[in-house]
């Protein structure tokens, strides 16, 4: 691979992620509208929202860590997206692996936590305390899923994982070869997105007790952009691990949308768990299913 292509990928990959992310946000809102029998927002509504937030007159900062945090949380997701191979673009995917990606995905969370801490609002800190608790809750089953998948494929290299799954079509997909891990993975990915019933820390209905309490204007806008990246990253990661990636964008994108669609459909019919209930639930069901899946994988090794 020559330098020109590499540079092109470095620019294109975050851009694609952003555009697909916008579409995913739009889909999320449309689905919710359909369930609630509303018309839903117009096609460009996510873009309007970002422009509106960035163009607001009042942009309140609480200090430099507040600003740096915004860059950290975008940076963490952008880096993850560049290391995630997508059809036609896996230039640097060989330089890092699944384990790196797992910990790289915690950087945005830490960035968010740092920024909210600097805003000096206890309501924000309470939100972060809940967010980190739920991170501990969903990452334990997630680690089991990742470990099981890595043992199954015999590698943590993402391009190799995709290659293995594409050898025999549907038969070699992670979904068919290790259904239990795929199921547990879907549950944890859902919690990772922070949607109902695991949205206690965002708590959009009562903004006073969430991390967003002091986020105004473009800070909120940046969080919006982050949400686009987050939906895309989680969808692509799941597709890579269990749905065989994609040979081209036409087969790849529908899978990503399908993964996110499952999550957003479930979301809309649930209420909200309290922190300890969410932790209990995540440490009970996904962990049990993932452990069973891991045992199956280990017995086949």
């Amino acid at each position: 691979m020559n330098t020109g292509e590499l540079l092109l990928e470095l620019v294109l990959m975050p851009l694609v992620a952003f555009l697909v992310g916008l579409l995913l946000v739009l889909m999320m809102r449309k689905v919710r509208a359909k369930i609630e029998r509303r018309v839903g927002p117009p096609f460009f509504q996510p873009v309007y929202d970002i422009v509106k937030l960035y163009a607001k007159k009042t942009q309140i900062s609480h200090g430099y860590m507040h600003d740096v945090a915004m860059m950290m949380l975008l940076g963490g997701y952008i880096a993850s997206e560049i290391f995630l191979p997508v059809p036609g673009m896996d230039g640097v995917a060989h330089q890092a692996d699944l384990l790196t990606l797992m910990y790289l995905l915690m950087v945005p969370m830490l960035g968010m936590a740092m920024g909210v801490g600097q805003t000096a609002n206890p309501n924000g800190s309470i939100g972060i305390s809940r967010a980190l608790t739920s991170m501990l809750a969903y990452d334990i089953p997630f680690v089991i899923v990742v470990a099981g998948a890595a043992i199954h494929y015999g590698t943590t290299s993402l391009p190799t994982i995709i290659e293995i799954q594409q050898q025999q079509g549907l038969q070699s997909w992670g979904l068919t070869t290790m259904p239990l891990l795929a199921l547990a993975g879907l549950m944890t990915m859902h919690a990772m997105l922070g949607k109902e019933p695991f949205e206690l820390y965002v708590a959009p209905a009562e903004i006073a007790t969430g991390p967003m309490v002091e986020m105004s204007g473009k800070y909120m806008g940046t969080l919006f952009v982050m949400q686009c990246f987050q939906l895309y990253t989680v969808g692509v990661l799941y597709t890579t691990l269990f749905l065989g990636g994609g040979l081209n964008w036409l087969t790849f994108l529908p899978k990503v949308f399908a993964v996110v669609l499952i999550a957003v459909s479930i979301t809309n019919v649930y209420g909200r768990y309290r922190t300890e209930d969410a932790v209990r639930w995540l440490w009970k069901w996904p962990v049990m299913i993932a452990l069973a899946g891991l045992a199956l994988v280990m017995s086949n090794v």
């Binding site: 937030l53 960035y54 607001k56 942009q59 309140i60 900062s61 609480h62 200090g63 860590m65 600003d67 915004m70 860059m71 950290m72 949380l73 975008l74 940076g75 963490g76 952008i78 880096a79 560049i82 330089q95 890092a96 384990l99 910990y103 790289l104 915690m106 830490l110 801490g117 600097q118 000096a120 609002n121 206890p122 800190s125 305390s129 809940r130 980190l132 608790t133 991170m135 501990l136 990452d139 334990i140 680690v143 470990a147 099981g148 890595a150 043992i151 590698t155 943590t156 290299s157 190799t160 309490v213 002091e214 204007g217 473009k218 940046t222 952009v225 922190t275 300890e276 932790v279 891991l294």
Partner: protein, 622 residues
């Protein structure tokens, strides 16, 4: 005279000069210079050995036909390097303004120098007797360092002493058992005799060694002494102890157990009665539990120093976990973690000391918002916690990655999960640390605080820079690790500047760091250049549900930071181990009182008479 002799001489004269002139105002800077010279000497030794070859010391003597001799191989050199750099930077920290405020700086200088000397002796021991001498010296030197402050510190040091004594007794028993069997104190003789040793004896010796050295490492279930003992030590000394002292146990374990016995033997060494558990699994799970349990104890602490020392214990478990996997990658990961951990843990402890120096407390419930007053200390603490948590791009991630990867390659997914649980707990805990000290609202009492002086900031910054550079370019550190790994007799892990290329998934930290900063750069462009201009407000200009905030309103969230989590796992923190330990301590205290009473001078003549009578009786009977 060999280079190692020069190093010993330098180290010993540092002790003596500090003992004589340690009260002089420039004594601190002298100590820094002395450690720098020792470092240069140590680097000169680097040229002297390769692989299993060691640089001998010409100093040796015989006791009752047993030779005691010293020499440094790659493994000892690796630990010595960390020791001396840690001593140099922590001394630099205390040489300036911080040291002038200390009442007993003289003693602190001497204690540090004695510690370094004792560790160098231990790290160069070549037989069981010199190992025992070095071991005892290190224990007493650490006691000297801990006990300085008196009060709570002395209590903690006494507790440490009890543990250290127990460890020494176990070590002595093991050495005697070996001598009875093979009639020699030489390592080589022990290694040669190993294949023919019966399993029962090998189990006994191994358990005694693991017990003796595990106490120093605070391996479960001997983990109770370390946190209080280390955190009560005065600032710079505590940073030094935390960075390296407990690793001496790991060194000794490697040299007497892991190197000669080898993983293959441990794998087939089935446990008596429980044949399905082999010695390696036992060690691995002990290490994994040591990585998890202290981490979650750290999560509950409200004192920054205690929080950090509990994490130190947990990270020790991580190192042993890597080493016990026994593959080249696991060994490299474990050794690399020792080096990486020393860099950021020393920085973290110095940063907390700087906070104590300015704000007067390390109580996490009484601080907050210091980021605006102590920005440099904040940056050090931030980089340090990213390292401790093991997230990219700091060096802590690289060594942990190697450990995860080796567990994965060895088909041990449950241990990988255990290691990750420890990492996740660490993230929660270190966020609490930085949030409660530096984020949130600044207290009115701290409005006038100043940044720590340059003499304190500079060593901390150097330490985190080491942590960052060896994170982005782990090849640098892995080259040093090679020396230790070769001395242990394991294959080397092939590496390049950015990390390793491995068939089942590679890591190139140059790319990871580069891409991460590229992403942050894009984030900066989006955030800074788009949208309207931001303006900074006062911390009281905050949403408070309709109230007006002022200095009178306590508006900080720090106590019991994770209530949701604690409602679930809070009940799991059993006190059983603590109760057993308390019983043992009472017993030891009782014994010591009994002995104290019976040794009183008034009884001396009585003892003499009694001894005389017994002797006479024996003679008459004989």
């Amino acid at each position: 005279m060999t280079t190692l002799d020069f190093l010993f001489l330098l180290s010993l004269s540092t002790v003596l000069i500090l003992l004589l002139f340690g009260r002089r105002p420039m004594a601190g800077w002298f100590a820094v210079a002395a450690y720098a010279m020792q470092l240069i000497m140590l680097l000169a030794i680097w040229k002297g050995f390769s692989g299993d070859i060691s640089v001998p010391s010409s100093f040796h003597f015989m006791i009752q036909g047993h030779q005691l001799h010293w020499g440094m191989n790659g493994l000892g050199w690796f630990f010595a390097l960390i020791t001396i750099i840690a001593a140099m930077l922590t001394s630099a920290f205390s040489a300036g303004e911080w040291g002038q405020q200390q009442k007993n700086m003289h003693l602190q200088h001497v204690a540090m120098a004695v510690n370094v000397f004792a560790m160098l002796l231990l790290l160069s021991s070549m037989d069981f007797l010199s190992l025992f001498i070095g071991w005892e010296l290190v224990s007493w030197a650490a006691y000297l360092m801990m006990t300085q402050r008196g009060g709570k510190a002395a209590d903690a040091a006494f507790r440490y002493l009890l543990y250290a004594m127990a460890g020494a007794m176990m070590l002595l028993t093991a050495i005697v058992l070996i001598n009875v069997r093979i009639h020699s104190f030489q390592f080589e003789a022990f290694w040669d005799a190993l294949p023919v040793l019966p399993s029962a004896l090998l189990w006994t010796i191994s358990l005694l060694f693991v017990g003796a050295f595990g106490i120093k490492m605070a391996l479960l279930p001997f983990h109770l002494w370390q946190a209080t003992a280390y955190s009560e030590t005065p600032g710079a000394g505590a940073a030094f102890l935390n960075a390296i002292a407990a690793r001496m146990g790991l060194f000794a374990l490697l040299i007497v157990l892991l190197k000669p016995i080898g993983m293959e033997r441990l794998q087939i060494l089935a446990m008596p009665l429980f044949a399905f558990i082999d010695a390696q699994s036992l060690l691995l799970w002990l290490a994994a539990l040591t990585a998890i349990i202290p981490t979650f104890i750290a999560l509950q602490q409200t004192d920054a120093r205690l929080l950090l020392t509990w994490h130190g214990i947990g990270q020790g478990g991580f190192m042993l976990l890597g080493l016990a996997v026994g593959t080249p990658m696991g060994i490299a990961g474990g050794l690399l973690h020792i080096l990486n951990y020393a860099s950021y843990q020393a920085a973290l402890f110095l940063a907390v000391t700087a906070v104590i120096y300015r704000a007067g407390t390390a109580d996490l419930d009484r601080l907050g918002g210091l980021i605006t007053r102590m920005p440099w200390t904040f940056i050090v603490l931030l980089m340090g916690i990213i390292g401790l948590a093991g997230l990219p791009p700091m060096n802590g991630f690289v060594s942990k990655w190697l450990i995860y990867k080796s567990l994965m390659d060895a088909n041990m997914p449950m241990l990988l999960v255990a290691a990750s649980i420890s990492t996740l707990g660490t993230i929660l805990s270190v966020y609490k640390l930085i949030h409660n000290i530096f984020l949130g609202q600044l207290r009115k009492a701290h409005f006038t605080l100043k940044e720590a002086p340059l003499s304190m900031i500079a060593p901390m910054l150097i330490l985190v820079l080491i942590a960052f550079v060896t994170g982005a370019m782990p090849g640098l550190a892995l080259t040093i690790v090679d020396a230790a790994q070769a001395a242990l007799g394991y294959d080397l892990l092939p590496h390049h500047l950015g990390g390793i290329t491995w068939p089942s998934g590679s890591l190139n930290m140059l790319w990871v760091t580069g891409i991460l900063f590229y992403g942050i750069g894009i984030g900066a462009v989006i955030f800074l250049f788009l949208g309207n201009k931001r303006h900074v407000t006062h911390q009281w200009d905050n949403y408070a549900g309709g109230h007006f905030l002022s200095a009178k309103t306590p508006y900080q969230y720090s106590h019991n930071f994770y209530p949701g989590l604690m409602r679930i796992i809070g009940g799991w923190f059993g006190q059983q181990v603590l109760n057993i330990e308390m019983g043992l301590r009472h017993f030891a205290k009782l014994l010591s009182e009994v002995f104290y009473d019976s040794y009183q001078v008034v009884y001396a003549s009585l003892y003499l008479v009694a001894a005389l009578v017994v002797t006479l009786a024996l003679i008459v009977k004989g």
